[in-house]
């Protein structure tokens, strides 16, 4: 079963309606849409603008401002590698290169078989045990090459 639903404006309108009554609803709506569709497609913008009575430019500005929101659904699994100072001090750059090489993608890329998306993240708050990564919603710290390889294998399976 695919992880995300395919884009459907009627379904999007329903999701927007669930959140539109709270103040400052834009971000909660964008998160909710991405949760269901895996991304916030361009087509969602006029629907949000309409529901919140703001301009489409304002919605567009918001979607593009935050690093979290995507235009295309990610791979089946998302591996985020922390590249902030603490993890740098603990040797994450070597792990980053290793992950890129093994997956055959650059940061922000998705493998050709659409299984794994590789992304940078700036701090997971696990700096006591750097380096740290996040695979979907699960966190892993104190990583070495061996453990990274296990995670990459798990992500690709």
């Amino acid at each position: 079963m695919p992880k995300y639903e395919t884009w459907n404006p009627e379904r999007a309108v329903e999701i927007i309606a669930e959140h539109q009554d709270q103040r400052g609803a834009t971000l909660p709506i964008l998160h909710a849409l991405q949760e269901v569709f895996g991304c916030v497609p361009l087509d969602a913008e006029p629907l949000i603008a309409d529901a919140l009575n703001i301009t489409r430019a304002e919605v567009h500005g918001c979607v593009t401002f935050y690093h979290d929101f995507r235009r295309e659904p990610p791979g089946r699994r998302t591996l985020k590698i922390c590249l902030a100072e603490s993890c740098q001090a603990a040797g994450v750059r070597a792990l980053e290169s290793r992950a890129k090489e093994k997956l055959g993608v650059e940061m922000g890329g998705t493998t050709a078989d659409a299984r794994v998306t590789l992304e940078p993240v700036y701090c997971l708050g696990l700096c006591h045990s750097s380096p740290a990564v996040m695979l979907d919603k699960d966190v892993y710290a104190g990583l070495d090459e061996e453990r990274l390889d296990e995670l990459l294998k798990e992500a690709q399976s």
Binding site: A84, S86, S129
Partner: protein, 517 residues
């Protein structure tokens, strides 16, 4: 029945705590043991996580780090009776690293079950709120002022003065906003509180609401913290079900706490950009004045405090402002929750009074590097904090002492680097990070950071060295003085400190050294 404690803190989970829990459950079933597993917060000694504590007559005896595959060996060795083992650290409360701390804000973290309101109340929870209700809004603000508490988010602004300003605004809709956008690398104290003792944050926000007459509160939580989100939601629901946050004291103006997830922008930790983000806009920095205390969220008077500031208020109310003020040095009163991170042997949270030196922290408490190589540089205060060389390890932890050495305490993250670090790369990264995260509103930050990277590259390449060094210094000054907020304003700290203290990494000298070899 035997009670054991295994943390649910995401730091412990990241190190395999869940597998350990599963293994204990399996062993208990197979061996017919009457075992209760409490999921506490973390004690903050992460090199020992997953730490398993067993309740005994002597106290809670700890074993760590425990691997799931070793659980049956431990049980066979009698760990459930607290018997010695090479993984045993003795009674956790007596373990020197833990015992030597002064835990005020973190008093309960690692001890109690963060999902249990009963446990919270049994350990002094809501004593502060009770006192707050007795002394009323003015009394609360007096105590907070007397405590000398300064904003723990990084700027160090006196919390009491901020509260007084909002309280003095005429009655209208006011808001309490908790800044839980802990984005600094090397910091995790906010996360530990939210996961390990979330009720204390809710209690602190409730007290703040009473003090200034605010009836609604927001917790602005970063999207990188899904576990904290779950913990907060559970705590908010528990407090609400018990009538502790929304019903009983509603008449006395209590915030009903709600949260909103960020979407991965470092700059949104800046208070005005955070407000715009909460309002559903691009998180761009606002020019000040007006202050958020006057014109804040949705244009209303708003208190924005860091998680740790709010979480410290309950103990100040409970024990009195003077009690808190008695810890610390100079104008830095109370305790600081120092986070030891990076390439460090004993990474974790160390709460202690202000005044401890950087050297004591890194060498004695932190135990030096994890890699075993010599410590070369330490970055204090997150990505915008200065790099300190060993020569400055006598600097005491104090806002003013750090400022006097062109550094900052910030959120008190201490990131240790060993001698393999290339400081020119770190300086370049500081500019790169600023460029990635700049909200784009002001020119010094938006353009300066991009130009900064280029100039550093030129210096390293030994291209018009003297001239480019001058340009870099001038650029840093422009960013420092001309940026709207701390992102562009402080990015020069790591850059200039790296250049000042580690000039040998920036090209010319290095080449000469290599040539000499």
């Amino acid at each position: 029945m035997t009670r054991i404690y295994i943390s649910r803190d995401s730091g412990a989970l990241a190190l395999g705590a869940e597998a350990v829990v599963k293994r204990f459950e399996k062993e208990a079933k197979e061996r017919g043991l009457d075992l209760e597993i409490v999921r506490n917060g973390s004690r903050g000694m992460y090199w020992l996580e997953p730490l398993v504590e067993v309740e005994t007559d002597q106290g809670r005896v700890g074993y760590g780090p425990v691997r799931a595959s070793k659980v049956d060996d431990l049980i066979d060795a009698g760990m459930l009776e607290g018997k010695p083992h090479k993984k045993c650290i003795g009674v956790v409360d007596d373990y020197p690293w833990f015992k030597n701390q002064t835990r005020l804000t973190f008093a309960r973290v690692g001890t109690t079950d963060p999902r249990s309101l009963e446990d919270y109340q049994a350990h002094g929870g809501y004593a502060g709120l009770k006192k707050a209700l007795e002394v009323g809004p003015d009394g609360i603000i007096e105590e907070v002022l007397a405590s000398g508490l300064r904003g723990r988010g990084g700027a160090g602004f006196p919390t009491g003065i901020k509260w007084r300003t909002v309280a003095d605004c005429p009655p209208q809709q006011k808001y309490i906003v908790c800044n839980a956008d802990e984005g600094d690398s090397g910091t995790f104290a906010d996360r530990m509180i939210m996961e390990g003792d979330p009720f204390v944050l809710i209690e602190g926000m409730t007290i703040a609401g009473i003090a200034v007459g605010a009836t609604y509160g927001y917790i602005y939580l970063r999207s990188e913290y899904p576990h904290a989100s779950v913990a907060l939601r559970a705590a908010i629901d528990a407090a609400r079900n018990a009538g502790l946050s929304a019903t009983t004291w509603r008449a006395r103006a209590t915030p009903s706490t709600w949260r909103s997830a960020t979407a991965g922008r470092y700059v949104c930790g800046e208070e005005t950009s955070l407000l715009d983000s909460l309002e559903g806009k691009r998180g761009e920095v606002r020019a000040k004045p007006p202050l958020p205390a006057h014109v804040g969220l949705f244009g209303q008077p708003t208190i924005i405090n860091n998680v740790l500031s709010l979480a410290t208020v309950p103990i100040i109310m409970d024990k009195g402002g003077q009690y808190y003020h008695d810890f610390g040095m100079g104008r830095s009163r109370g305790t600081m929750r120092i986070q030891l991170a990076g390439n460090i042997k004993h990474g974790g949270l160390y709460e202690t009074a202000f005044g401890i030196t950087l050297g004591e922290l890194v060498d004695d408490i932190g135990g030096g590097t994890y890699s075993g190589r010599p410590v070369r540089a330490v970055q204090v205060g997150g990505p915008l904090g200065a790099y300190f060389p060993r020569d400055l390890f006598d600097t005491p932890f104090d806002y003013e002492a750090f400022a006097a050495r062109d550094g900052l305490i910030g959120h008190a993250g201490v990131v240790v680097f060993d001698d393999t670090v290339d400081m020119a790369k770190q300086a370049h990264f500081a500019m790169e990070f600023c460029a990635i995260e700049s909200c784009g509103k002001c020119t010094p930050c938006r353009i300066g950071s991009a130009r900064g990277m280029e100039v550093i590259d030129k210096i390293v390449a030994d291209e018009d060295r003297a001239e480019n060094l001058e340009i870099l210094e001038d650029l840093c000054n422009t960013m420092k003085l001309g940026s709207l907020c701390a992102l562009g304003g402080f990015a020069p700290y790591p850059v200039m400190s790296a250049l000042t203290h580690f000039p040998e990494d920036f090209g010319a000298d290095k080449k000469r050294l290599e040539a000499a070899e």
